[in-house]
């Protein structure tokens, strides 16, 4: 595994060639459904940047309050809350200096309707759409 880590690091130097940054940024996210936006990432920040949120499970989130005295830093103490009702942005976070440091945030994607186009509802029954 040690050698695997070495090879991985070498690959990362090729993939992110400018001192671990990309020549062309990845740009905006592809449209996705709301559930997917929060399900497939771990750290989030509210749009007003007051709260940093860590998604433990779908219903258990850890909410960290901004440290007012320090730019981009959040306290390590947290409240266990439900999924935030407000809109959240994906974030990259690093711990250190006795707090959590917000390194970067992403823009929000276009949120698509979550209706499953492969299923239909007939009366009270939900079934897959017939295949041609």
């Amino acid at each position: 595994m040690e050698s695997d880590y070495t090879q991985w690091r070498i690959a990362m130097e090729y993939v992110f060639p400018l001192n671990f940054t990309l020549e062309t940024p990845l740009g905006p996210w592809e449209p996705c459904i709301a559930e997917e936006w929060t399900k497939n990432w771990d750290w989030f920040v509210t749009e007003d940047k007051i709260f940093l949120c860590y998604r433990e499970t779908a219903t258990v989130w850890h909410r960290f309050l901004k440290n007012e005295r320090l730019h981009r830093e959040y306290k390590t103490t947290h409240l266990v809350v439900d999924q935030p009702a407000e809109s959240v942005l994906r974030a990259t976070v690093e711990s250190g200096h006795g707090g959590l440091l917000l390194l970067s945030t992403s823009t929000k994607p276009t949120i698509e309707d979550s209706t499953d186009s492969t299923r239909m509802i007939v009366g009270s029954l939900e079934t897959p759409l017939p295949e041609l």
């Binding site: 690091r9 990362m12 671990f20 990845l26 905006p28 996210w29 771990d42 945030t105």
Partner: protein
């Protein structure tokens, strides 16, 4: 399984032994017997070939392994049927319609039967088809490339596992320019300029052992895209992915070998 000896790690040693044993035993009986030319030829086509053909669609044998399995039966039966057993295999295995002898080429039969079986079961959505579909999607995830597996260059063979039946089907089809269109869930980009990690890495790194190491670690972290390992702003690497411990966050819903 009936008539097939399979190992989860893809080891075919026992299977080859058993099939060769059947061919050898049949060959000995053919040599010892007093069969006519027609009986020898008919026996070859209807008896031992049928036995050896039966498990082939589910096998992942190489061309030389197939030849070694068939050899004892062919060497015994052809002289009895009045045909030289040292005849060129091109003529021997060519169909009768093409002026060949129509002797079974077990390697070609295995490859085509496998592809035909895959297409049939996936298209008909049989229980076997569902299992095959899972194998296809496993290999697609292992390859870490965007799009359908069948549209990829076979370059992914440098870093994926090699014992899956789907891998062997892809290898055979690539070699013989067979294109199939079985639909499966494919990996697609998450961001505008997103790319597959392994696709980018393989452009810069050609050593197979390095690519396999990178793919192992990619699967250890459960990631596919650059967007999975990049910081949220999509400009640079999330340095968490340089740490020598498994990434514990979540980037997708795929079922991974090192899944959390």
């Amino acid at each position: 399984m009936i008539g097939i000896w399979m190992a989860p790690n893809g080891d075919t040693t026992v299977l080859i032994e058993k099939l060769r044993e059947a061919a050898t035993s049949w060959g000995v009986k053919m040599r010892m017997g007093r069969s006519s030319k027609l009986e020898a030829w008919t026996g070859l086509q209807t008896n031992i070939f049928a036995t050896l053909k039966y498990p082939l669609a589910a096998c992942t044998l190489t061309e030389s392994e197939c030849k070694s399995i068939m050899a004892p039966a062919v060497r015994a039966a052809l002289p009895k049927a009045g045909i030289s057993s040292t005849m060129s295999t091109t003529v021997r295995n060519a169909p009768i319609e093409s002026l060949g002898m129509g002797v079974l080429d077990s390697y070609l039969f295995m490859g085509t039967a496998r592809t035909s079986m895959m297409t049939h079961h996936c298209w008909s959505n049989t229980p076997t088809g569902v299992l095959l579909q899972m194998c296809i999607e496993d290999l697609a995830l292992d390859s870490g490339l965007y799009g359908l597996l069948w549209n990829q260059e076979f370059k992914f063979s440098e870093w994926t596992v090699k014992h899956s039946i789907i891998f062997h089907a892809c290898k055979f089809n690539h070699k013989h320019e067979i294109v199939i269109g079985i639909k499966h869930h494919s990996i697609t980009k998450r961001r505008n300029n997103d790319r597959s990690i392994i696709a980018v890495a393989s452009k810069h790194i050609s050593k197979t052992s390095s690519l396999r190491a990178i793919n192992r670690l990619r699967q250890f972290h459960n990631v596919v895209h650059l967007s999975d390992i990049a910081a949220a702003d999509g400009r640079g690497l999330n340095h968490r992915f340089l740490a020598e411990t498994q990434f514990t966050g979540k980037r997708n819903d795929y079922k991974w070998p090192h899944g959390k």
